[in-house]
Symmetry: C2
Subunit: 272 residues, 2 copies
């Protein structure tokens, strides 16, 4: 199963906000063996959202979109997706109930009568025809699922804790069933006193000897004090065998690093 | 000037590493009035890098690519760009000198004779023909600039502190000259006790009355304790007038929020 994550929001493009949503979803999809082959960020612009959606929806089994579901003028995600799919936008009865409930609850807490469903509130229940609203336990705007020809699209709110809880409670269990229960296994070791260029041929050798295991080095230290993270990973249906295979590759590389006078640690060490 | 930032690395896609590079570059480009209209992340895959590069290079004045310049097998950025541009890869004399100097310096510090330019080291000086290497003051792999027809491409290392120093010292001054010295002005206020749906019509009114100012709300609190950041921004050649215009919009919105019993703060308050 191949996925693309689209994050929507000017605040990400201008570097005001870090894209923690894409990282969180990338991590969770990887854990349930769904390959994230690309992520992208576009601003709060109708044409840009439409163009990005049109470019990628047919190429992926799964499209996760975050951001732009709220009540303000610059929340344009569902309007843009509807237009790209040539579907009407309509006030969804179930979504409207979800929004109503939230405002009733909120008004009770504040002991006010402000339950009125003004236009910005109705906007959050206005979704493309033939789509399914998903309850938002922490916020007001429902998430939305749209089943396209060969692609499932899930649009989630941009507020991280709302996005996370909807993803964990609703999207992840559904996707896990669809991805047939394979798992992603990983392990990192850390090496000191070995430069990345010296590591390169050793990693090549380990990958040839262990064809199921993917090995990647990440320089974490300074130039005159090389400190490397080396990340081993594989995707498999048999977790126990995978751990064995990972362990074999880790041991082989560790031995080779020690032979060229490097130091190896199973955990990140704070350099002195 | 319109820019696209491409980040390369499986570790970003799987959520192992946060994409701080795109945020840092987005912030810096915005400060020198270059519009970032999209950012994307692709993995360490030759075809994916090529496809992404081909899709976006002609649409943008500036393309910043980070990651994939190192010595290991999975550093495929320059090879993929060369192929997409139909250019040969060649060992660049100047780049090779840069790499050599680094290893000589490193060998002196370690008092070893390991100055040998083995294949992984030569790889870092192997760049597309007709491109310019840029010195990397903190690491080994040089950055690379390629001037295409109407697009400038700058490929930077993925290690954040190397990327940052090259961007600040070499790329930013060059791009600042090209973008004619306009500036991006911004200001945030924070509001308590106002829901986003109640803010929406107020923001609409402020944007109509202040057409140069862009206003966006970001929910930062919990559902039953609304806490909003409201971000005001504009791009201008006249900084002083811009500050006045921003201030007028901020004051207008603040007054309206106070009228509906909200609280406004100029700085982020830690909620009690």
């Amino acid at each position: 199963m191949i996925a693309h994550i689209i994050t929507i929001g000017d605040e990400i493009l201008i570097g005001q906000t870090l894209n923690t949503n894409a990282a969180c979803i990338g991590d969770q999809l990887t854990n349930i063996q769904i390959s994230v082959n690309k992520t992208s960020v576009v601003g709060d612009d109708h044409d840009d959202i439409m163009a990005e959606f049109k470019t990628c929806w047919a190429k992926n089994d799964l499209l996760i979109v975050t951001g732009g579901l709220g009540p303000t003028f610059d929340d344009k995600t569902l309007e843009s997706i509807a237009k790209a799919l040539n579907r009407k936008l309509e006030v969804d009865k179930e979504a409207l109930e979800m929004v109503k409930e939230k405002y009733q609850k909120y008004a009770r807490k504040k002991r006010s009568n402000n339950e009125e469903l003004a236009q910005p509130r109705v906007k959050m229940a206005t979704i493309p025809e033939n789509s399914m609203p998903i309850r938002n336990p922490l916020g007001t705007a429902p998430a939305v699922q749209i089943n396209l020809e060969n692609t499932v699209l899930i649009a989630l709110p941009g507020v991280p804790r709302e996005m996370e809880v909807i993803f964990e409670q609703t999207a992840a269990p559904m996707l896990k069933r669809a991805s047939h229960g394979s798992v992603f296994c990983e392990e990192s070791i850390y090496a000191d006193d070995v430069m990345e260029s010296a590591l390169a041929p050793l990693i090549d050798k380990v990958m040839i000897d262990n064809p199921d295991v993917y090995v990647k080095s990440h320089p974490r230290g300074a130039e005159n004090k090389p400190h490397m993270e080396i990340h081993f990973s594989m995707t498999t249906a048999e977790e126990e065998k995978a751990q064995e295979k990972l362990h074999k590759a880790v041991t082989q590389l560790s031995d080779m690093i020690i032979k060229i006078d490097g130091k190896v640690f199973p955990e990140q060490q704070v350099s002195s």
